[in-house]
């Protein structure tokens, strides 16, 4: 039944034919999963009538007009240009990411390597924090931001997200595994605490920083609900909100929407492909620990 091949325990040797068949199905499925991206890329350079029409092949020549429209023509008729929104998204997302790593790293290090009154309580509190869905905070955080007079500002879209319990927890877990001898040897040499953190701890935790950075950046880049609540000003509008505006209010302009989708998705896809290893590691880590 199994011939001479080595028996891989638990996996009955699949029939060669069968294996290729399954592989083909898997490939087709993967293509199906990637299809929307291919479609939107082509649609973004199609003529407007070719996008709304039912034909699969374009009947008119390709055009870059939709890109031109969202980048410059939109501004002339008083809409926010995508370039500006792109900058807003990038600025907000990267600022939040940097702060989450700095604040989370310091807090995680403190919980893992320092003894102070209330440390146990705070560690438990951070786990407790992660239990609650964000919807619970939508209304009151909006009111806090409003009372701080930060509605329609960058700060208002940044500050509520810079303290991440999830990031602190990951740092805490990581730092716990680093031997104390390493820290103590520097301490004897008179090294200061911040020096230890920035010269030893942060460089050592590159893998965990990449995971946290990737997920936080992606989350902020893709955010929508919070931004419609916290900002109404065109100048500070992130890309998600601008694109949603195109969809909700200017439904007729499909080509512009498709070009907008390209701007919104491709940077994050490039990041994802570069950091795919950290990304999958991040998911399996949280997946296994529950």
């Amino acid at each position: 039944m199994m011939g001479k091949e080595k028996i891989k325990p638990g996996h009955k040797q699949m029939n060669k034919m069968m294996q290729y068949l399954v592989l083909c199905i898997l490939l087709l499925l993967a293509l199906l999963w990637l299809y929307p991206y291919i479609w939107v890329t082509i649609a973004s350079v199609k003529n407007e009538t070719d996008i709304t029409g039912s034909g699969l092949l374009p009947s008119k020549p390709m055009t870059l007009g939709h890109y031109k429209f969202i980048l410059s023509t939109a501004a002339e008729i008083g809409r926010t240009p995508f370039g500006r929104a792109f900058f807003n998204s990038f600025f907000i997302s990267s600022t939040v990411t940097v702060f989450v790593i700095l604040i989370g790293g310091l807090a995680g290090y403190s919980l893992a390597k320092h003894e102070f009154p209330g440390r146990k309580f705070l560690t438990n509190f951070i786990i407790f924090q992660m239990l609650f869905p964000t919807i619970l905070f939508l209304v009151p955080v909006f009111l806090v931001i409003k009372n701080l007079h930060m509605i329609d500002t960058y700060q208002g879209m940044i500050l509520p997200f810079v303290a991440s319990a999830w990031a602190v927890f990951l740092f805490y877990q990581f730092f716990k595994g680093i031997p104390n001898d390493l820290i103590e040897s520097v301490r004897i040499d008179g090294g200061r605490e911040l020096l230890i953190i920035f010269r030893i701890m942060f460089p050592l935790s590159k893998p965990i920083i990449t995971i946290i950075g990737m997920f936080i950046f992606m989350q902020r880049w893709d955010e929508y609900l919070w931004y419609i609540v916290l900002n109404k000003k065109n100048a500070f509008m992130p890309m998600t909100n601008l694109l949603a505006g195109y969809m909700k209010s200017y439904g007729e302009n499909l080509g512009a929407q498709m070009a907008g989708v390209i701007f919104l998705t491709f940077p994050i896809i490039v990041l994802f492909i570069i950091f795919r290893k950290s990304f999958t590691r991040g998911i399996t880590m949280t997946g296994l620990k529950g």
């Binding site: 399954v22 499925l29 604040i103 310091l106 807090a107 924090q129 905070f137 319990a165 104390n180 296994l288």
Partner: protein, 293 residues
Amino acid sequence: MDKAKSGKKLKGGKVGLALITPYLILTIVFWCIPFAWSFILAMQKWNMMSPAKYVGLKNFIKIFSDKLFFISLRNTFQFIGVFIPLCVAISLLIAWTIYKVKKAPSFFLISFLLPYVTAGVAYAVIFSRLFAHDGVVNVFLRAINLNIPFFTDPRIAMSSIALLVVWKIMGYYALIFYAGLQAIPQSIYDAALIDGATGTQTFFRVTIPMLNASFVTILIFAIALSVNIFTEPFLITDGGPFFSTHTFVFWTYKTTFELLRAGQGSALAIITASISFGLVFIVRKFVEKEVQL
């Protein structure tokens, strides 16, 4: 365990506290205060301008006696009913196939994971076009004389949205299952083989029970996602047609920021979170098991 691994903690309480202070201040302002405030708000009638009025549990009574409560609940369960079985089945099947075929596993895992990084707004734009009455999907369906009004028929609009979310999130769950499959020790399969178990028996009696932790994680993620769904119904169907995609977060948003009823909105958010907790509790109680190696 945490003592054994890290040895003794470094002393110096002041430095330790100083390092965690930025986190604490921000957490107090943007977590603790809002957390407490949401419960206070839920018992107030307030339009965010004139002074708030204490109304006790009136907000909750109003919500529970609103027809929209049952509509939202029904919609949420319609979503769960399509999304969870479909997504769990497909992701498990894909993960298992990738695991078994052993050809380019990372290529497949990455391809399926790609939609996960796409913003809700972006794929709402893509799919509202692809699934439109004259969209690509219906062009293909025309070949078998079918035209499905994915987003315009109130009976299936919520299920159509569930399909999109399956597309987005499936790769994520498949990856969790894949990691779970890799963590199953080979010795268990050896034992099953020696006992003369067939492939199907091994799958249902060994593989599935050994994946319990992955199932629980995925179910908890899926419940949180289902109860908190917002962007897709808000952008694609705007809660319609005939309230068929009206969800709790959608309702919370409309109540608070369009009708300016902060109290009722907070009460809704608390109810939403409670439903999420309730369902997670059920999963923990009935699905989670200690797996003995």
